[in-house]
């Protein structure tokens, strides 16, 4: 993907990331706008790394359609295409997903951009949710 495309994507993330804060009935105001990425794109290499890791994991997820769909959504958010998914062994798949969740958590900490960090953290939470929701025989 061209760098310019990702930069525009990043700008869109910065605009769209404000949202509900309050818990039921607490009535808080929306947060202040998130800090935008500074000039240049210090996260370009990180995004490339994230895309590569998700793509590699997605390629193993053919046995579990929910995981394939999740990875496709995450790659789409980063303006990357999902690979054709093959069926890895259940043990390999579960391990790969756990590794990806930890990687995304670390990547979110490393991100210079707050909105990008938020997106990566959300992806890590999605992986956690999908793993927790899978029946034990699925992976």
């Amino acid at each position: 993907m061209p760098a310019a495309s990702r930069l525009s994507r990043r700008a869109a993330l910065a605009v769209g990331a404000g949202g509900l804060l309050g818990v039921s009935g607490c009535g808080q105001d929306a947060p202040a706008p998130l800090r935008p990425a500074a000039g240049g794109d210090p996260d370009e290499a990180l995004v490339d790394e994230v895309v590569a890791r998700i793509t590699a994991t997605a390629a193993k997820s053919g046995r579990v359609p929910q995981l394939t769909a999740m990875h496709a959504a995450h790659l789409a958010a980063l303006e990357a295409e999902a690979p054709v998914a093959a069926a890895a062994s259940r043990r390999q798949l579960r391990r790969a997903e756990r590794d990806l969740q930890e990687f995304l958590e670390d990547a979110a900490v490393r991100a210079e951009s707050g909105p990008l960090a938020r997106l990566l953290a959300s992806m890590s939470a999605s992986v956690s949710q999908h793993l927790a929701a899978l029946p034990s025989e699925a992976t």
Partner: protein, 144 residues
């Protein structure tokens, strides 16, 4: 926004979550709804723990932690398990949104704490008949 401001905002949300789960616990029968009771109790304990952590960090930073409101609006009609689970699920989702917001507004260890809190609340949401989401706490990405 300073780290202190971001933590204060998150603490305010945790005060609300603790209150809501306290109410839900009072409406959940241990004998008639043991699974839901256990899930609500676990959520209550988790949010109390988060609240206490945030309070401690703010005190350590020399700030006065934001106080809880006297009460929060909690939906009525909490007689049925389905309704209780729904309110619990919505509360966890709201907390996920707050944690995700903190991720964007914090760095280093505070950000890591927020990421882990986001992961935990997202998984806990499943105990309340939730289904996995593509972007917990950042649902606007699902529509892109």
């Amino acid at each position: 926004m300073s780290d202190v401001d971001a933590l204060q905002t998150t603490l305010a949300a945790e005060h609300a979550a603790v209150y809501v789960f306290g109410v839900l616990g009072g409406r959940t029968s241990r004998s008639a709804m043991p699974v839901l009771y256990a899930a609500v109790s676990a959520a209550y304990a988790a949010h109390r723990g988060r609240r206490d952590q945030l309070t401690g960090w703010l005190v350590d930073a020399g700030a006065e932690p934001v106080a809880a409101e006297p009460a929060y609006v909690v939906p009525a009609d909490l007689e049925r398990a389905e309704r209780i689970a729904r309110v619990a699920r919505e509360t966890e989702r709201a907390c996920a949104t707050t944690y995700a917001w903190l991720v964007a507004n914090a760095v280093d260890e505070t950000r890591r704490w927020a990421i882990r809190a986001l992961n935990e609340t997202a998984v806990r949401e499943l105990a309340f008949r939730g289904t996995p989401e593509m972007f917990p706490g950042a649902g606007e990405h699902a529509d892109r």
